[in-house]
């Protein structure tokens, strides 16, 4: 996918730091996401990719640094401002985080109903349409989330994230746990949302095929910093040994896994 022409900045992250106790997870992240851009963040398990997104969303409070959304600083923003900013966001949680007290369709329509933009009947209709987009039939709408498989839950969560047509969508591992065909359907959907609707997307994935397909730009997180970023075409000859090792999935290289054989 080629990058959109105009590159106004939608999200600007500067010097973002976050530690849990003595464990430093983010150690000065600098990252921009352009308007309408699809940025994919890759990186090993436990390097802080989910923490990065949660800091942007305000779920976690960063220790220092700045996050701007549409030029507005959001790190120390008050509760009302946070609600206003979060109205622009859609988020797919890594663990789906579906509301298990509500049927699937109400999960999907939740954001729409909360904003009182639609009646329950309209919300239900939109929810079923969104479910169809992620390959789930209308009969799924009545089920409870606990009656679904992991991959189905993930797709419901995806439908919920995009239901209110947010300006900025965060996808935390959208294709993990899906079969290869369904993974590609979801990739196409993400491409369609960013290209046709013009939404800005920040995705996290381990899946290199997926990131090549959905990304305008790929950034690699390692040791609390963004160590490389560039277009998907450049990732195979990045000249960066860390990126190389990750892309080719080799156990040997500069990234050491803490395992003992």
């Amino acid at each position: 996918m080629s990058a959109p022409a105009a590159q106004a900045v939608k999200i600007r992250i500067r010097g973002l730091k976050k530690a849990f106790g003595r464990k430093v997870v983010l150690d000065g992240i600098d990252l921009d996401v352009g308007v309408g851009e699809s940025l994919v963040v890759i990186g090993g398990s436990g390097t802080g990719k989910s923490v990065l997104i949660k800091c942007v969303l305000g779920i976690l409070q960063p220790d220092s640094g700045s996050v701007q959304v549409d030029g507005e600083e959001v790190v120390e923003i008050d509760a009302d401002g946070r609600e206003r900013i979060n109205d622009k966001f859609g988020m797919l949680f890594q663990g789906s985080a579906l509301f298990d007290s509500l049927p699937v369709w109400e999960n999907v329509a939740f954001g729409l109903l909360a904003r009182k933009k639609v009646t329950r009947a309209q919300g239900r209709e939109i929810a079923l349409a969104k479910l169809a987009q992620v390959g789930l039939g209308p009969e799924v709408g009545q089920l409870s989330p606990s009656e679904l498989s992991g991959g189905m839950q993930k797709r419901v969560a995806l439908a919920r994230a995009i239901a209110a047509d947010p300006e900025i969508i965060f996808f935390d591992e959208p294709t993990t746990g899906l079969d290869p065909i369904m993974a590609d359907v979801i990739n196409d959907l993400i491409v369609k949302i960013t290209r046709e609707v013009g939404a800005t997307a920040l995705s996290i994935t381990h899946d290199m095929a997926s990131s090549r397909k959905i990304a305008h730009r790929i950034a690699m997180l390692y040791n609390g910093r963004i160590i490389w970023n560039g277009p998907p075409a450049a990732i195979d000859n990045s000249g960066n040994p860390f990126v190389d090792q990750f892309v080719h999935g080799r156990a040997e290289g500069p990234i050491k896994m803490a395992v003992r054989a």
């Binding site: 949660k54 969303l57 509760a79 109205d87 007290s101 939740f110």
Partner: protein, 258 residues
């Protein structure tokens, strides 16, 4: 002074927790009065707290009333036992045992369930998901439960009062062989509006305590299934202790001058 250190920790911990709890309570109460209101959630919680607690509260009340009548019969002088038993039952049930026992039973039933439900929502990131879907979790989860608790406990206690007095009546008239009409007449004579009202005010306070503890411990739980388990236990234990504390404080406030 090393041996003082643990004591210091406990004291500091206590004040920190009290502070956090107070802030949480203020936040939750504020959201009860600021729109949007989630009517659907309030009704659901009212049914959960009020309707589904009826059997357990009713059973507690009837046995309490029965045992009160039986116990006081053995304790009183033979003469005028009838009036004395009616008096003991109606005063004890409306002032004390109705609200306290209903509060404790609801703490076990509802407080635990709330802590478990909200705690699970916390550790599975459902509460975080709410904030990304234009919904304030304090308003959506906590405020409806507080409202429902404060509204439903007095109703439950009113029913418990009636059932408790009925229990005393049954034992007095069928087992102890008193004249039912006389017994009812004495019950009526000894019943004070003030006693009933003070019991209902207590009930509202206990309703607030139970739901607040359930919400607070669930909301602040962490660390998976174990954390949720701990939250559930803490919710019931702290609610029960606070109910007994506030029972004393409120009694002193109501009846101090008499």
């Amino acid at each position: 002074m090393n041996f003082l250190q643990p004591i210091g920790h406990v004291v500091l911990d206590f004040f920190a927790t009290t502070g956090r709890l107070t802030l949480f309570a203020i936040d939750g109460v504020t959201h009860c009065f600021r729109p949007p209101f989630y009517g659907r959630m309030i009704v659901r919680q009212m049914v959960e707290i009020g309707y589904f607690s009826l059997p357990v509260v009713g059973l507690t009340a009837i046995f309490t009333g029965m045992v009160l009548a039986l116990q006081s019969y053995t304790g009183f002088a033979r003469f005028s036992a009838e009036a004395a038993i009616a008096n003991v039952v109606v005063v004890a049930v409306t002032r004390e045992l109705g609200p306290v026992l209903a509060g404790l039973m609801v703490a076990g039933r509802v407080g635990a369930a709330m802590a478990a439900e909200i705690g699970t929502m916390r550790v599975t990131e459902q509460i975080d998901a709410l904030t990304t879907l234009s919904t304030n979790p304090m308003k959506y989860l906590v405020a409806p439960r507080l409202i429902a608790g404060v509204a439903m406990l007095p109703i439950l206690v009113l029913i418990a009062d009636i059932i408790g007095v009925l229990g005393g009546f049954l034992v007095a008239s069928y087992k102890l062989g008193f004249n039912p009409t006389n017994y009812l007449q004495s019950t009526w004579n000894f019943m004070e509006v003030e006693d009933v009202v003070s019991g209902l005010v207590k009930a509202a306070v206990f309703g607030f305590i139970v739901t607040l503890m359930g919400c607070y411990h669930g909301y602040t739980s962490r660390g998976g299934a174990q954390g949720v388990g701990a939250a559930t236990t803490n919710a019931v234990v702290t609610a029960s202790i606070l109910i007994l504390c506030f029972d004393y404080i409120l009694t002193e406030m109501f009846f101090a001058g008499k």
